[in-house]
Amino acid sequence: MKLRRRNRDRPSFQALVEHSPVAMYVSATERAGRYHYVSPALVELLGWTPEEWKADPDLFEKALHPEDCEHVLGQIAVAKANRRPYHTEYRLIDKDGATIWVEDTAVPDGDCWQGFLVDITQRKAAERRYRALVEQLPLITYIDSPDRGDGAPIYMSPQVESMLGYTPREWQATPSFFLEHVHPDDRETVVASQEEALRTGEPLVREFRFVAKDGRVVWLHDIQTVVRDDQGRPWYSQGFALDVTSAKFWEQERERLLRRAQMQNERLRELDRMKDEFIALVSHELRTPLTSIRGYVELLEDDRALSPAERSAFLQVIDRNADRLQRLVEDLLLAAQAEANSLNLHFEEIDLAKLVVDCVEASAPNAAAREIALACTVQATPAILGDAGRLAQVVDNLLSNALKFTPEGGGVHVRVSESESTALIEVADSGMGIPAGEQSELFGRFFRTSSAQREAIGGVGLGLSITKSLVEAHGGRIGVHSTEGVGTTFTVHLPLAAAEERVSGAA
């Protein structure tokens, strides 16, 4: 009766609670699980009757899933101490032994908790299915913390451990963990792209290097989308990253091979160009003396007007140009032999000072004609072993170069001395000098200095390469010191013949 009257006086909350599909309860604040009231829905949910709940104050703790027990009781204790509501998710094991996921929300009211449980078992199962799916993909998925903004992810899929060696827990412990492990060379661009993405809200696709726990450098292909807040502003990002190290390796390998092939092609084109240039130069160098030979032969044929002196001078021109042709042909052959490593040298004991003096004397007319002061300072050196003809060619080549590249009025000085247990020949000129950038190429075949080309100074670029081959075939070395506009000095060191060799050579 009493109850009935009350029902008439005000809305029946009792009926509302009794018919609600939400499981509700009232329990003692003092002791979690000491239930004053359990709604029919709660009875339905877990299987225990209100009487069973009241009879066993430990029933709640018994029903709690052992793995969740600690954190749930802990949370309730904290809420109790602060007299604050609590909200938590955990598993219960019902009367039949089935596991049920619940969402539990309770508010303190006097010395009671008033709470309700929502069955979230299906949601949890769905969550588990999707999580299992995400966590079996061969990639790392992550969700950055929406609230903290410090870059620490709230979710990091466990593949991170097999891919990079770090556990999700390690990763999440330090907000700057990600950036700290990006390869230092890529850090700046990674930071910049992240800032850009969060500023614009545009999706981000990037590749960068990451240092794994074992020190390996892993290339990650990272695809990110930016989640926006209610106002549509960029908020936080989530995405996934793939290990593309091996793809990257092959890509780099392919590029490396491509570059090498390109370099080889360029080298071949360069060689081809040098060959064409060489043929053009050789043709030019052959045609010049031929022009004189044919021209003077023609002058001599029509000799009505010629005095005997002129006739003799013209014959000398022909002879000189024939010499020049012969020298060029010999140089070409010698260059070919040097290239094939088949220089045939006839070694004998040589007085280097005398050989050099002879060469300088032979060049004297040429120097005089160009008004170049030609000086020679020789010290007697111990004998050396060498091919006299080829060594004379070495000195001739250096001398003719010096004369060729020295302007009228300049000077050329040849010295012979003993230095560092070698015989040293120096040929110094006061010519135009060689640019520093060209000095290393000077002894290469067919190389012509920029000034030789500009000033139309004759030559095919064989002299110095032959000279170097000849010097080296004697066990010696050749060097150059040059200052543009000041002059050039070539040095040739030749080994002295060992004493016993000299004795046996003399015997």
Binding site: A280, S283, H284, R287, T288, L290, T291, S292, I293, R294, G295, Y296, E298, L299, D302, A305, V317, R320, N321, R454, E455, A456, I457, G458
Partner: protein, 118 residues
């Protein structure tokens, strides 16, 4: 005439003198231009590759200064040389080695009245 190879310079000068010309010979482009300014030639015979300015450049500058037929000599035998010579305004183009007769014909074709013929 201008030619940096002394033997060829003497050869061309000797030929021109035989044909009755008065010859002024230069060993490079600068000398050639200086000679031409001192006494304007009836014909210029120039080597292409000589110390700068080269024969092509001297031809161009001579054409800018006045009217003079130019015969160019070159030991370079490539298709560009002849084209560059014509472009610079040369009247004749001979490759070395050349026959005396060929040089004479080249000169006659641009200066019909040689002193010898006159």
């Amino acid at each position: 005439m201008a030619e940096d190879e002394p033997d060829i310079r003497l050869l061309v000068a000797t030929l021109l003198e035989r044909w009755g010309y008065e010859v002024a010979a230069a060993a490079d482009g600068h000398q050639a231009l200086a000679l031409a300014e001192r006494r304007w030639p009836v014909v210029a015979v120039l080597d292409v590759s000589m110390p700068p300015p080269d024969g092509i450049e001297v031809t161009r500058r001579l054409q800018a200064l006045g009217d003079v037929p130019v015969i160019l000599l070159t030991a370079h035998v490539d298709e560009h040389s002849a084209a560059r010579a014509a472009e610079a305004g040369a009247s004749g183009f001979l490759t070395k080695p050349f026959r005396a007769q060929a040089l004479r014909k080249a000169i006659w074709s641009v200066v019909p009245m040689t002193p010898e013929a006159a």
